[in-house]
Symmetry: C2
Subunit: 227 residues, 2 copies
Amino acid sequence: MTDTKDSILNSAERLFAERGYEATSLRAVTSEAGVNLAAVNYHFRSKDQLLKALFTRGMQRLNRERTALLDAYEAECGGKPVPPEKLVHALIGPMLDASRDRSRGREIFGMLLGRMYASPKGPLDDILVSDIEAFSERFKSAIRRALPGTSLEELYWRSFFAIGATAHTLISSRLIGIISNGLCDADDREAVLERLIRFIVAGLQAPERQGAKGKKAGPTGKKWRGK
Amino acid sequence: MTDTKDSILNSAERLFAERGYEATSLRAVTSEAGVNLAAVNYHFRSKDQLLKALFTRGMQRLNRERTALLDAYEAECGGKPVPPEKLVHALIGPMLDASRDRSRGREIFGMLLGRMYASPKGPLDDILVSDIEAFSERFKSAIRRALPGTSLEELYWRSFFAIGATAHTLISSRLIGIISNGLCDADDREAVLERLIRFIVAGLQAPERQGAKGKKAGPTGKKWRGK
DNA sequence: GTCTATATGGGGATAGAC
DNA sequence: GTCTATCCCCATATAGAC
């Protein structure tokens, strides 16, 4: 049994997600996992490699779930384009994991993922980008079919914003209860997912800017400037 | 002249934003600032207090700019509600700082802010929340007037998502060029701001969910689950 | 594969001279 | 207010016995 290896992965995932990578010591990881400190360097080569292993495992699982959802939706729609709300669900649903059975596993990785997005550029970028690309091709084709009137450039940006809103929700939803004076409940994950999907779908469908694209200045530049 | 104190603040702001707080040593800060290591502990009490001072300074500046924009827009509209795109600009424009004069100052703080949102819960939360609240009351009144048909709870969530999309843009826009194969240009800040505003405004105006609110399960739960 | 013990370095913080 | 020198802790990583 490689019980040890998995224990380390799971503990590290949880601690890195909760406290951040830099702020978490390997001692904390091994102590929580109930294994010896040296085991980390035996099974992984370094703290850095541990993070990479961890991250790859999670991303593959995530993309598997996204792909499965997309497959199901496409089958369900026959040859017709899958409606945007279902595409958005396939993209972000597995990140939030608002499933009825709270295994907590994915939710934790979601936090870690959100934190990785916000991390400084580094060797992680390779993994991040390559794993993002693993799903983004599938998603790109589907979203183009769903929203044929919108340019590809705009669709990239809007999908990017969608990921941002989702990552923020994963990571700092603790704040919204405080800011809203208890009006908003971040723990009702299904309701949050639904709100998020509604927001993103509307954003994806926003009217595209008319006229010259990529042009700066002009009347537009003035428009957004106060007075 | 408290040249030293300001040098430390500026260097720390840049380094914390670029590399993250934990990953930045005080030695790196003082060496970049061209001051002595001990100066940090003389002018601030600790690394932690340095971050707080830094953060407070930046948030106050940010909120001053937001408030000024909102003031201008409200004056411009007479008694009538300020249109959503202007409110959104007041909220996120100063974070992105797509101004013509590239002083770089605010942009850097924007990155730091984005990173702080993504940081683990800690003593920073107090500052973060209190400084957010400093502007959110103003913004709340204005957005309610602009979108009277939407519940306050929903408006909180959607503003939260808006901040998330913006923070993500501040922090990981380096990724979009790679993912889009060079199609998207993150350096054209004015164009990005405009796209972001368009996306958020559409999200804010999304149709609100009909029927029981806060209810889980039911047909909705089924709706978002694939097959 | 797992443990103990330790090497090695870097970090924040401070004392005390100037 | 600024510097040098140093304290002391905790981190990652490894060597080598079991």
